[in-house]
Amino acid sequence: MKSVYILAIESSCDETSVSIIKDGKEEIATATLSQMDTHANYGGVVPEIASRMHIENITMVLEETLNKANFSIDDIDAIAVTYGPGLVGSLLVGLMAAKTLAFIYDKPLIPVHHIAGHIYANNLVKPLEFPLIALVVSGGHTDLLYMEDDYNFKRLGGTLDDAVGEAYDKVARVINLPYPGGPLVDKLAHEGIDTYPLPLPLDDDSYNFSFSGLKSAVINLTHNEGQRGHQIIPENMATSFQNRVVEILTKKTMRALKEYQVNRLIVAGGVAANKGLRQRLTELCAENNVDLIIPPIEYCTDNAAMIGAAGYYAYKLGRRADLTLNAKASDQLN
C-alpha cells in the first residue's frame, strides 16, 4: 500500500510547529519554534504577541521542516491543520498558511481538533488500541474522553473554568514562582506536606472539573495568613494544592474506566509531565489492571507531529475542509 505523507501545522497557542508524518505513525521531520521565553516577560501568554510571533516565523518553520525531511510539497498527500480550540489570532496564522498551500498545490485540507492531536501523540510511539479512556491535561485544556475506535471521540467531561495547567501557573504566582510555574509547583510539592485545608473541587457524579475555586482557596488562604502576620509555607501549599488536583483527576478518570469497562488509559497534554499525577496514576492503574500510556515529554507539549498523526486518521475517514475553514476559539471534540 502506498504511504500517506501529511504536512501538519499547529499554531494554537505559543508554539509555531510544522511536521511531516508518514501513515499517522512515523515522524519524518518536525520544526517547532517556542515563544515561551518572550511570554515569560509578561507572566503568561499574551495573545496579540503570540499572533505577531507566529506570522514572523511561519514560512521559516515550514521551510525548515521540508528541508529536514528533504521533501517538496509535491511529495505531500494532504495538509492537516489545527483549527481549534486555541487563541484565534494564533490559530489563524497556521490556518491561512495551510489553506494557501492546499489551494496552490490542490491538496486535501484536513481540519484537526487540537485535543485529538494530543491523544494521537501516543500513536507516534505505539499505535493506539481501543477502546480507551483519554485524560488530556494542559495549560489550555482538561478533558476526559472515551474512544471506541480510531478518530471516534466521546467527550465525557472537562473543565468548566480554568484548565488544570492554568490553575498551576496561577498558584505558582501566588507562592512567588516564576512563569511558567506549573512544573515548579510539581517539584516543590514533593518537598512539602499536606497541611492546608483546601477543598476537593467539584467532587460530584459528573466527569467535569473545576479548578478556579481551588485556585481561589489558595489565594484566600495565603491572603488571610498574611493578614495574621503568618507566612504560608510554599512547599506545603504546593503539596496541598497538588494533592487535591491529583485526587480529583484520578478519581474521575478511574471512575470513567470502570463505567466504560475499559482497561486502557492515555494521558496527554503538557500536564501529563506532572510527576505527582504520573505517580498516582501508575499506582492506581497497577492496582486495577489498567494499561497506562503516557507519551514522552516532547510529545506532551504542543507540536505539529501530533496534529499530523491525528490528521492521518481524519484523512482516512474522508474528513475534508474547504477554503472557508475558520479558526475556533472553543470547540468540543465529539
Binding site: N41, Y42, V46, E48, I49, S51, R52, I55, E56, I58, T59, M60, L62, E63, I73, V88, G89, L92, V93, L95, M96, A97, K99, T100, L101, F103, I104, Y105, L323, T324, L325, N326, A327
Partner: protein
C-alpha cells in the same frame, strides 16, 4: 506580467488580478469579521476568472498595514506563504496608500480608525508619493491639509482604490524576502506598552 494584489487590513477586502495592465478580477467589498473565511474563496475565484494558475504569477503585492491586526495577518500570511512556496517576488504596500490611490485631490489623506480617538493616517500626492509619513496619531492632533479619505465613520470621503495606479507605481519595486516580510502595525501591543512604560 501577471500580478496578484491583496489588501485585508481594513474591513474592506481587496483581491485583484492584473495581467498586462488590465484588471482581470477585482473584489472590493466589506467582509468584516468574515475575512478569514472569505479571503481564500475570493483568491480561488480570482484565479478561476482570470484563467490563471497560482504557478503563473510573476509577483504578489500585499498590504502590510496599518489597520486591523488580525486582518493584516490574514492577508499577509496568505501572500507570504504563496510567495515563499512559488518562489516569486512579493512587494509590500501601505494600506493607507491603497485608500489614497483614488487621488481625488492634490494631497490625499488616508485615515483608518484606530479607536479611542486615534487614527492611522498618511498623505499621498497624485503620484502616490507618501508626503506625510504613515503614523498612529490622535485625530484631533492630525494637522495635514488635503482630501480626507476613509472607509470608517470619520469626516472623509469613501475610498475607491485605483489598482492599476498602485501596480504601475510599484511594479518595478524589488521584491522582499517573504520570510522577513512582516506586518507594519505602527503600534505596539498593550502588553509591550505597559512593559516599556509601566507608570503611564
Amino acid at each position: 506580467m501577471k500580478y496578484l494584489l491583496i489588501d485585508s487590513a481594513t474591513a474592506t477586502l481587496v483581491v485583484a488580478i492584473v495581467i498586462d495592465e488590465q484588471i482581470k478580477y477585482l473584489f472590493n467589498e466589506v467582509t468584516g469579521k468574515d475575512m478569514s473565511s472569505t479571503i481564500m474563496m475570493k483568491i480561488a475565484e480570482a484565479f478561476k476568472e482570470a484563467q490563471l494558475k497560482p504557478q503563473d504569477l510573476d509577483k504578489i503585492f500585499v498590504t502590510t498595514g496599518p489597520g486591523s491586526f488580525t486582518g493584516i495577518r490574514v492577508g499577509l500570511t496568505v501572500a507570504k506563504t504563496m510567495a515563499w512556496a512559488l518562489k516569486i517576488p512579493i512587494v509590500p504596500l501601505s494600506s493607507l496608500e491603497v485608500i489614497a490611490s483614488a487621488t481625488p485631490g492634490q494631497t490625499n489623506v488616508a485615515l483608518i480608525d484606530a479607536r479611542r480617538g486615534y487614527v492611522y493616517a498618511g498623505a499621498y500626492d497624485q503620484n502616490l508619493n507618501n508626503v506625510y509619513k504613515d503614523r498612529h496619531i490622535l485625530l484631533n492632533q492630525l494637522n495635514v491639509k488635503g482630501v480626507y479619505i476613509s472607509y470608517d465613520d470619520l469626516p472623509a470621503i469613501k475610498p475607491n482604490p485605483d489598482i492599476l495606479k498602485l501596480i504601475n507605481k510599484h511594479k518595478d519595486d524589488p521584491g522582499v524576502n517573504p520570510h522577513h516580510l512582516n506586518p507594519n502595525y505602527l503600534k505596539l501591543t498593550e502588553a509591550e506598552e505597559k512593559l516599556n512604560y509601566p507608570h503611564d
